[in-house]
Amino acid sequence: MSGDTFKLIIYISFGTILMNNFVLTNFLGICPFLGVSKKLNSAIGMGLAVIFVMTIASVVTSLTNTYLLIPNNLEYLQTLAFILVIAGFVQFIEMFMKKVIPPLYKSLGIYLPLITTNCAVLGVALLSVQNEYNLWQSALYGASAGVGFMLATIIFAGIRERLDLNDVPKYFKGLPIALITAAFLSMAFTGFKGIFG
């Protein structure tokens, strides 16, 4: 492996997990981030499902783009093509998992429909095309984005489990305090920006 490739791997993975965290700096996947972070266990399950779907979605859309859209000069149909391909593929995997690996389906499957086509998954596909990543780079990008999501959600779930025990002002209960907590978490992640100088 050449030095450049290694540098690129580090850049894509750490850059996406810490510096440009999908949830906390790009605001992609806010809904599962807020909705499924009440319990640590469900945050972990959701995180794994997101990593899985994002990796697959980036690979599938990268293939669609290189072998279907670009040769036919149909790049302007990216949005439409990506969303249909992702939705179809994830649905297929869900059915496959249900039939072939029921235990995995039980732990991850329930989260799959929640994230089939949310903005984080389509966002990964669009961003990796925008960054002109090739197949393995998109796969790495997708996986890193998923890991970044999982990291943020797990930390957030941990804080929220504690928050439940505290006395929150009446009107701040529920969504407001969750958003303000996310603000502090986002501030903390801003600190990673300086890693690469």
Binding site: F27, I30, Q130, Y171, P176
Partner: protein
Amino acid sequence: MKNRSLQEFSKGILKENPTFILVLGMCPTLAVSTTAENSFMMGLAATSVLVLSNVIISIIRKLIPDKVRIPAYITVIAGFVTIVQLLMKAFLPELNEALGIYIPLIVVNCIILARAEAFAGKNNPWYSLLDGLGMGLGFTLALTLIGIIREFLGSGSVFGLEIIKNIPMPTLFVTPAGAFLVLGMLMALISALTHKKTEIKDCSECPMQCMSKDEKGKC
């Protein structure tokens, strides 16, 4: 007849405001509200997609088999989003650059699919048009309000017009953390005004996940 028209139009602005009351479409709300202008234009883009897709879906609602309605809705919405995206690229390239991937991401904006599923798929084109206009306007107003607050606190200007000069403003409000903070405070204010607890909506609120159904055809 006239009363109902007015009602369908006005409900989206306050009573069922998509951002503050229904709590839908959080991603673009947080992401593009760095300046008032970006927020306003994003609101307009989403509104035009919402109105057009509502009308078309309402017209073809009887032709779509119930089982494939969600994928069909998404295809219609994605078509209009592509049109808006291409128009923006051609005529407003700077704005297109500023809003970036959040323009194509209008496809997965919950508000649009939620209105198609909850309203346009069941009502005639006229009411669907009004519903789309009202909801879009509610979204635009909410987004612009957040944009104005963030731009003012973060850089001392509103719609690019400098109001406070020579005083350094906390840039925190233009950063992602500021977005969460401002929205959190606004939500608390809404909750105090309506005397209701603003619940965190589960992702199941979004009809998008109806793409996968069980044997009984339920989500």
